[in-house]
């Protein structure tokens, strides 16, 4: 029952298409083209992309895997980086401390998932509560500002393209290549597609889970540290990043059920979201209207891009489909979540 068309179009097409449509609309509304809109989008997008890449890895590791602690870890990373950077006078140590904080938080999640066998969503929820408590304690009477050098780099945009975006772009390509060409990448995706089969084939469940969750925690904390250096640290800095990271990953074509990671799509989704925010601000829509439209657009993208082939084969969903492919309609094999 797989349509040929589904294979011909790469899964990230929809997100980039949406981003381009929004960009064109922005140009039409503002009445002038130019790089400014693009530069702004590429300045803000990399943070969301970093968080999104981590979320993408976690989601690709199979059904039920999700990290809901990214928002609080993001804020914590920002606070830790600025605090340590301020005390030691070195932004490198600050970023290092943020990475450490991300590792520590992700370790709590992964220990809870692997050894206490808590479903990931609850385990990472508990981690998120712990991270938020640390952030609140740290933020009490918090002072300190980012290193000017780092701040300068983050807002440096030669020829209208922010240098930081290039760095994150290269990182995205690295992630993409790791997934495609290394053994670990194939193992991780195989694990996401069929956990038990992959385990019989010798993929270590423990190793896969540890790597994806630690990477996600580190990326969230690092993105938070950089975001805090770009503007200012804040307990609520990361709050938008939870829903947005999940949304951009899925809009980008990564399967929620795991087994298909689309790093390029994260960029598409992030640019789409950020350009959309810009467009709505331009039109002068209220925050309320922005949210309603954002929600409807996410649902519309889902409506258009929904029914991905792997998903359809595994879940006998629509009646017509199931009627046509009765022999294909295996009951969904759900791994322990």
């Amino acid at each position: 029952m797989i349509k040929l068309g589904n294979h011909a179009i790469p899964p990230w097409t929809w997100s980039f298409l949406s981003a381009v449509i929004v960009l064109v609309l922005t140009y039409m509304v503002s009445g002038r083209g130019g790089m400014q809109t693009i530069t702004l989008a590429f300045t803000v997008a990399p943070y969301l992309v970093l968080v999104g890449l981590g979320q993408m890895l976690v989601m690709s590791a199979g059904p039920g895997n999700i990290d809901v602690s990214v928002a609080k870890v993001f804020s914590l990373g920002g606070l830790v980086a600025i605090a340590v950077g301020d005390v030691t006078g070195s932004w490198v140590l600050g970023l290092g401390a943020a990475v450490g904080a991300g590792l520590a938080m992700a370790s709590i999640s992964i220990i809870a998932i692997l050894y206490v066998r808590i479903p990931p969503i609850v385990a990472t929820l508990a981690t998120s509560l712990i991270a938020s408590a640390i952030s609140l304690t740290l933020a009490k009477g918090f002072q300190g500002s980012a290193d000017p050098l780092l701040k300068g780099f983050l807002s440096w945009a030669p020829f209208g393209i922010p240098a930081f975006a290039i760095v994150v772009l290269i990182f995205t390509i690295l992630v993409s290549m790791t997934l495609k060409w290394t053994t670990w990448g194939s193992q991780m995706l195989a694990f996401g597609q069929a956990r038990r089969a992959a385990e019989y084939a010798g993929v270590s469940a423990k190793k896969t889970m540890v790597i994806v969750y630690l990477t996600c925690g580190v990326l969230a904390a690092l993105a938070g540290a950089l975001r805090a250096s770009f503007s200012a640290p804040n307990v609520e800095l990361g709050n938008d990043y939870l829903l947005d990271s999940i949304a951009v990953v899925v809009i980008g074509g990564t399967l929620m059920t795991g087994g298909r990671a689309v790093p390029a799509g994260v960029w598409g989704g992030a640019l789409f979201f950020i350009l959309l925010d810009g467009l709505l601000n331009l039109i002068g829509w209220s925050f309320a209207g922005q949210n309603v439209l954002k929600g409807f657009l996410v649902l519309a993208v889902l409506f258009l891009a929904g029914g991905a082939p792997i998903l359809r084969r595994r879940v006998p969903s629509s009646v017509t489909d199931a009627a046509k492919g009765e022999e294909n309609a295996e009951p969904e094999i759900k791994t322990l979540t």
Binding site: G64, A126, T137, T257, A288, L299, G306, S317, S318
Partner: protein
């Protein structure tokens, strides 16, 4: 001889399924009673109608929202928008329902219908529920802000009357509401044909289809039930906070999931545990009371909550290993 054989068989077969379903909720219930006893030991004044009403009334909305999440999880889906949905309902109740009741009722009915349509989207386009409800949560937030840009409004008079209602026999009013809501959810999910269809949609959609049920209709009905419970949660929350605020309880989204898991629910669907979910929600709600009584810095409260959730689930793992 035959009867004993059957008995043997029963004794062997029955507890396993039942234990798996009931045990987690039962353990959570023990945790709940323990927290309640500790609270009572530290502050004996809570052992009165007023005291119990005071500590339980903030939990009512959480308990009903957890019921909604439980129905959602029994069909194998997760709702990441329930927090903002409940918030949006409070804004409708505090403004439209008070000023123009007919319009308010229509708006509430529209919200339930919107949920049912969301179910249709999930089913027809095989969209993951997580992301569909996430997208919808933006809509709920926006709608709530449209109705009430800043927290305000006022609960309808009948709702105020409910908030000050003192049932006879010095039973705390919140307890009555919670038990009635849970009993209704339990009845629908476990004692009606509709509930069987919900659960089979979660555990074995192919079986549901072959037995002649429509997947789309079932999922729409399930989502409609979730919306209905969400509306009820919103109404009770309005009674609690006395007005409307779309940002009142964004934390419900994840807390309700934790409540269902504590109550013995599963992400994979097929399991409806109304009473366990009630125990889970009350446990999570009482934790806040306990931590306040311990006069712990409010900054540390989330961390303790996180560790206790891990602790309860770790305890369950140990008990499950022992009973196996």
């Amino acid at each position: 001889m035959v009867s004993t054989a059957i008995l043997e068989k029963f004794r062997f077969n029955l507890p396993k399924g039942l234990a798996r379903r009931v045990l987690p909720g039962f353990l959570t219930l023990i945790a709940m009673v323990m927290i309640l006893l500790i609270c009572g030991a530290m502050q004996p004044r809570i052992w009165s109608q007023n005291g119990l009403t005071l500590i339980m009334s903030p939990i009512v909305a959480l308990a009903i929202a957890s019921m909604a999440q439980m129905v959602m999880m029994s069909i194998g889906d997760i709702d990441l928008g329930i927090g903002f949905f409940v918030g949006m309902i409070t804004t409708i109740v505090a403004t439209l329902l008070r000023e123009t009741p007919i319009l308010g009722v229509l708006a509430l009915a529209g919200s339930v219908l919107a949920y049912a349509l969301l179910g249709a989207l999930v089913q027809l386009r095989s969209v993951p529920s997580l992301i569909a409800t996430l997208g919808a949560s933006f809509v709920w937030l926006g709608m709530g802000l449209f109705v009430l840009p800043v927290p305000g409004g006022s609960a309808p008079d009948w709702l105020f009357a409910y908030a000050f209602w003192q049932p006879p026999l010095s039973i705390p009013a919140p307890l009555v509401t919670m038990v009635v809501a849970t009993a209704l959810t339990w009845f629908v999910t476990r004692r009606t044909a509709l509930g069987v269809r919900f659960r089979s949609l979660g555990s074995n959609p192919v079986a549901l289809m072959r037995s002649g049920g429509s997947l789309v209709v079932t999922r729409m009905l399930a989502y409609g039930t979730v919306g209905l419970l969400g509306v009820l949660a919103g109404i009770t929350l309005t009674a609690e906070i006395g007005g409307g605020d779309v940002n009142a309880v964004p934390g419900y989204t994840l807390t309700t999931v934790a409540a269902v898991i504590l109550g013995g629910g599963m992400f994979t669907g097929g399991r409806a545990v109304a009473w366990g979910t009630l125990a889970g929600a009350v446990t999570l709600g009482l934790l806040t009371v306990l931590l306040t009584l311990l006069s712990l810095s409010s900054n540390l409260q989330p961390a303790v909550q996180g560790f206790i959730v891990i602790g309860v689930l770790a305890g369950r793992l140990v008990v499950e290993r022992m009973t196996r």
